[in-house]
């Protein structure tokens, strides 16, 4: 468990330092994920400290968003200013983003399969 956290926190730390020193608008943790992914590809394997503890951790990722979710309190005043249009806008925009992404990907996968039959 200790080693697991050292791995993860170290990669986040490196990501934060790189993002800040280059002035990139990318969060350090996202850059850390990319760097860890490259490391795993180069090592051709997942070290034991990361293999055993992570899957259980990921199924509880929702827990970590509850504090941010409490921030929907701040949504109330805005909602009273636009009680109908704002919820409609957010639902329509989010659903259409999902649908467009899914359709483009399905089209791309279908096209790739046709060109390169398995």
């Amino acid at each position: 468990m200790i080693e697991t956290f050292i791995w993860l926190l170290a990669y986040q730390f490196i990501g934060e330092v790189i993002a800040r020193s280059l002035g990139w608008p990318v969060p350090g943790a996202v850059l850390g994920m990319l760097l860890l992914f490259i490391t795993l590809c180069a090592r051709r394997g997942v070290p034991r400290a990361l293999r055993d503890n992570i899957p259980r951790l990921m199924t509880h990722m929702s827990l970590l968003f509850i504090p941010a979710g409490v921030g929907i309190l701040a949504f109330w005043p805005m909602l009273s200013a636009h009680p109908l249009s704002l919820p409609i806008l957010l639902v329509v925009a989010t659903l259409s983003t999902f649908i467009i992404t899914a359709l483009v990907l399905q089209l791309g996968l279908w096209w790739q399969k046709r060109r390169r039959p398995a």
Partner: protein, 235 residues
Amino acid sequence: MSVLAWVQNAPLTGLLLTLAAYRAALALSRRYHGHPLANTVLMGAVMVIAVLLLLGMDFQQYMKGAGFIQFLLGPVTVALAIPLYNNLGRLRKSGLPILLAIIAGSAAGVVTAVCAGLLFDMPRSMVLSLAPRSATTPIAMGVAEVLGGIPALAATFVIVTGIIGAICAKPLMQLLRIQDDVVLGVATGVAAHGIGTARVFQLSETAGAFAGLAMGLTGLFTAILAPILVHYLML
């Protein structure tokens, strides 16, 4: 100091409250077989809000304890690299369509919000804060600031977008007859960033892995595309 004042100000309160609300939300979600509205983030947050109102606590007091939990988002985001690596074969095979879909989806996230905002005749600062709402919170706040929106407003839109996306992921999957976990993951990660990613991890590890990838890249492409798209849409 009275007991109530201690309860309101102790980090222990926010920490215990968040864990207990999550556990209760998880039980509700299992009881209703993962019904979309029994979303663990939404239910957990609503329960926390109810207790905060009851105890007369404000957000700052709550975050003294809940901040520890929020902090773990960083290392867990890094950990997304591991399920992604476990799906390396699929990533190699379908890398190009995935990348194209994420770029198209990032652009769609900005265009749909800005067009709908203009259509509803919303104030300019609100439309500009809505534009980056598909990205993760730190990116969306940065982009909103660059565009001339309000970062705090953008952060709220990001959260609400994530919860909507997380609730709708499974119904949309059934509606569109998506059978490929990769498609589910990428679409959820693009539309609903980390909250969507956390949701699909409850459904499938492969979907979670690709949602994590899509979340990271959507943040990147939103930061690049939003200023350009907004410039053309809001002349």
